[in-house]
């Protein structure tokens, strides 16, 4: 597994980029931001040693949902690719449990969102066919779904 060192303010990975690895923080601190470097920049989290970053987008095959930036000089990270996961977990089984818990929660949440999305498609279809007005719930769902798709398409 590769070990990488970063200086303060160096970008580790960028929001929207394709992810193929995660990082175990050995030393230093990592800041997580959305819209990094723009006026809309939002700070999400501050992670330090023994925490893992980027695991979900690697496992989900999604583009990175945020930018990770080294907050200190001498921030050291272990880079772990999907192939190296087994070895990594054998050494750190507590990380395996942590990640599996996140996966489990994410599966449940995504499933719930999916059901709601199907319901919205159904209700919009019904509203069109019967020339009915769209409920407030439906309008709000439509906005959310269009934004989700719009963001993904943008990447």
């Amino acid at each position: 597994m590769n070990t990488l060192t970063f200086n303060r303010n160096e970008v580790i990975f960028k929001q929207g980029s394709f992810s193929d690895c995660m990082y175990d923080i050995v030393e230093g601190r990592v800041g997580i931001y959305t819209d990094y470097g723009t006026e809309k920049q939002q700070f999400l989290a501050d992670l330090d040693n023994n925490q893992v970053v980027g695991e979900m987008s690697m496992l989900e095959y999604y583009p990175r949902s945020a930018t990770a930036v080294a907050l200190e000089d001498g921030t050291v990270l272990t880079e772990i690719t999907e192939d190296e996961l087994s070895d990594y977990f054998r050494n750190k089984p507590e990380k395996l449990l942590l990640i599996m818990k996140q996966l489990s929660r994410r599966i449940r949440e995504t499933n719930e969102k999916y059901i709601e999305a199907c319901r919205a498609v159904y209700e919009k279809n019904e509203a069109e066919r019967n020339n009915r007005e769209q409920s407030e719930w439906l309008n709000s769902q439509i906005d959310t779904m269009c934004e989700i798709y719009g963001n993904y398409f943008y990447y």
Binding site: L59, E60, Y61, Y62, L85, S86, F89, R90, P93, E94, L96, L97, I99, M100, K101, L103, S104, R105, R106, I107, R108, T110, N111, K113, Y114, I115, A117, C118, R119, A120, V121, Y122, K124, N125, Q141, I142, M145, C146, I148, Y149, G150, Y152
Partner: protein, 159 residues
């Protein structure tokens, strides 16, 4: 000390809606996973054989069980694994646990993809509406698919 339990044919292992806190590794026998077991909408979702882990969401998430698990044969033997036993179980069966994690990833990717497709169908519907154009046949088929999904939504056997 491993927690090994034996079940008779027809015995319920856990029920849909119950709070879960452990997962199971099938040593012998057969387990059926059912939606609405013994109810009007009963549907068997899966049949599981030895060397299969199920109920992992209960251990990982403590979420209510999304389906009922029933022993389908006499002498169905299960290794019951609560969170406290997770590490020792992983030490003894690393391949099975890693395989389980991979399966969970696949499941997440599939559901994410489905969700994104539904969002896309909605987006394209709205675009067609805005431009006053006719929906393509592909789009109409997709809308039908999601309508059907909504109507007969059975939670998958992810207990």
């Amino acid at each position: 000390m491993m927690d090994i339990r034996t079940y008779r044919r027809g015995e319920v292992i856990f029920r849909q809606g119950d709070v879960g806190n452990c997962m199971y590794d099938i040593q012998e026998g057969k387990v059926g996973i059912f939606h609405d077991y013994k109810g009007p909408d009963e549907k068997q979702l899966a049949e599981l054989f030895p060397n299969k882990i199920f109920g992992e969401m209960g251990l990982l998430d403590s979420a209510p069980r999304s389906a009922t698990a029933v022993a389908l044969e006499d002498s169905t033997v299960l290794h019951v694994i609560p969170e406290d036993d997770f590490y020792s179980y992983f030490e003894e069966n690393p391949t099975m646990v890693l395989l389980l994690m991979q399966q969970m990833c696949s499941r997440l990717r599939r559901t994410s993809k489905d969700y994104l497709e539904a969002c896309r169908a909605m987006y394209e519907t709205v675009e067609a509406e805005k431009s006053g154009s006719e929906k393509s046949k592909t789009l109409k088929d997709k809308i039908l698919k999601f309508c059907r999904r909504y109507k007969d939504f059975n939670y998958q056997a992810h207990t």
